[in-house]
């Protein structure tokens, strides 16, 4: 029962299905198992580590200069982006050529940046969340949410791209409608 409750909570708070964050990235992730694993993994790293850094920024940044938040978040993601590329190059040189595409794809997109801003917004509304653990777990949760949404899309990916779907609606349009229907189901869980 606890597991079901957790799953429902995870779905209801899913940033893709409820806030459309990272929708175009998920279309690429759902394309193949390799894309799914690599994109979801890299996005989870970005959201989790990025959230920890975002906590420090939110701790220091005064409300009067909150418009600078995007600049600081961008610096954090930029550093993380370069560090991740360097780490993969140094420790996983064999996979560098394969992995760098996913790192480029995942660094500056709505899924990552939107997660940081969403966590900041939630923490501003709920003071109990304003701590390092709260930020990191929310960032990790967002990454898991991305994986769940990508899995849901992967399940129907081939059918939505099959020749049975009219050419105009094949692919992206059908996937958007499909995500809309799933989002409607998730909306009813709230």
């Amino acid at each position: 029962m606890f597991l079901i409750n957790d799953l429902i909570a995870l779905l209801a708070a899913n940033l893709i299905l409820s806030q459309a964050l990272g929708t175009s990235t998920i279309f690429i992730a759902a394309g193949s198992r390799k894309n799914l694993v690599a994109t979801a993994g890299v996005i989870t790293i970005f959201t989790t580590v990025g959230s920890a850094a975002a906590y420090l920024i939110d701790l220091i940044l005064q409300p009067s200069v909150s418009d600078l938040r995007l600049l600081f978040y961008t610096i954090v993601i930029g550093v993380l982006y370069a560090a991740l590329l360097a780490a993969v190059y140094k420790f996983g040189n064999r996979w560098f050529e394969d992995l760098r595409r996913y790192i480029h794809l995942s660094a500056f997109n709505c899924a990552v940046m939107g997660t940081l801003f969403t966590i900041n917004k939630r923490a501003a509304m709920d003071g109990t969340m304003f701590n390092l653990g709260g930020y990191v777990s929310a960032g990790f949760e967002a990454g898991i949410g991305f994986i769940i949404a990508a899995l849901i899309l992967t399940a129907a990916y081939r059918k939505l791209n099959s020749s049975k779907v009219p050419a105009s609606f094949r692919g992206f349009p059908a996937m958007l409608v499909y995500l809309g229907i799933i989002s409607m189901a998730v909306y009813s869980l709230k």
Partner: protein, 210 residues
């Protein structure tokens, strides 16, 4: 239309960034439910994208790809500050409603990735025309989405009540945005297929990976 014209003006109809490239779709899905929101997003997207790409075009091309991408993102984050301050004066209510999607406009893939993949491979004049056409493509879709969703979800046009018999409340919700955009994408492809005589159209939007 020859290839150069296609590359320069294709952003509006031939290769619309939202309907074909599926870029910047989150604000369209979530916030594109009223004309006022649409206006505020159009202003922000146009100003941030145009200025950021223009300034980014002066970044030395010899720098490594990753460094350039980070610099482009930083430039747009800097451009965002005065744009947001001005928006607080012009669209105070919409800013509140748009929330986190406002800063997200500054990290759109048109600025961060398409600059390298598309714009900086063109001559300066062509780049500016192509950029304006891409921005206009987004603006048209945003305006149309805001107008239709407001009309059918709330029965109003720019907050003025109009006589609409059937209201679809779900259109104002995120799932309504997904479905509406999916249908618009399909209709756009169908029309594009009719015009070009080729209905087997697929998006070529992807991330540049140098």
């Amino acid at each position: 239309m020859n290839d150069r014209k296609k590359a320069v003006l294709g952003g509006v109809l031939g290769d619309n960034i939202v309907l074909s490239g599926l870029m910047v779709i989150s604000p369209v899905i979530i916030c594109g439910d009223t004309l006022k929101n649409a206006e505020a997003l159009i202003y922000a997207f146009s100003a941030i994208t145009f200025l950021s790409v223009l300034i980014s075009s002066f970044v030395p091309k010899k720098l490594p790809y990753t460094v350039k991408v980070i610099i482009y993102a930083l430039i747009s984050a800097l451009v965002y500050i005065p744009v947001k301050l001005a928006a607080k004066e012009f669209y105070p209510e919409s800013i509140e409603r748009i929330g986190i999607y406002y800063p997200l406009l500054a990290v759109n893939s048109l600025i961060v990735f398409q600059t390298e993949a598309k714009f900086f491979r063109m001559k300066k004049t062509d780049m500016i025309i192509s950029l304006i056409s891409c921005i206009a493509g987004f603006d048209i879709v945003m305006l149309l989405t805001g107008f239709l969703r407001e009309l059918f979800a709330y029965g109003t046009i720019n907050s003025r009540i109009v006589d609409v018999n059937t209201l679809i409340g779900g259109l104002s919700q995120p799932f309504g945005g997904f479905i509406f955009l999916g249908l618009m994408c399909g209709a756009y492809r169908f029309i594009r297929g009719l015009v070009s005589g080729n209905n087997n159209v697929r998006s070529d939007a992807d991330v540049s990976d140098k």
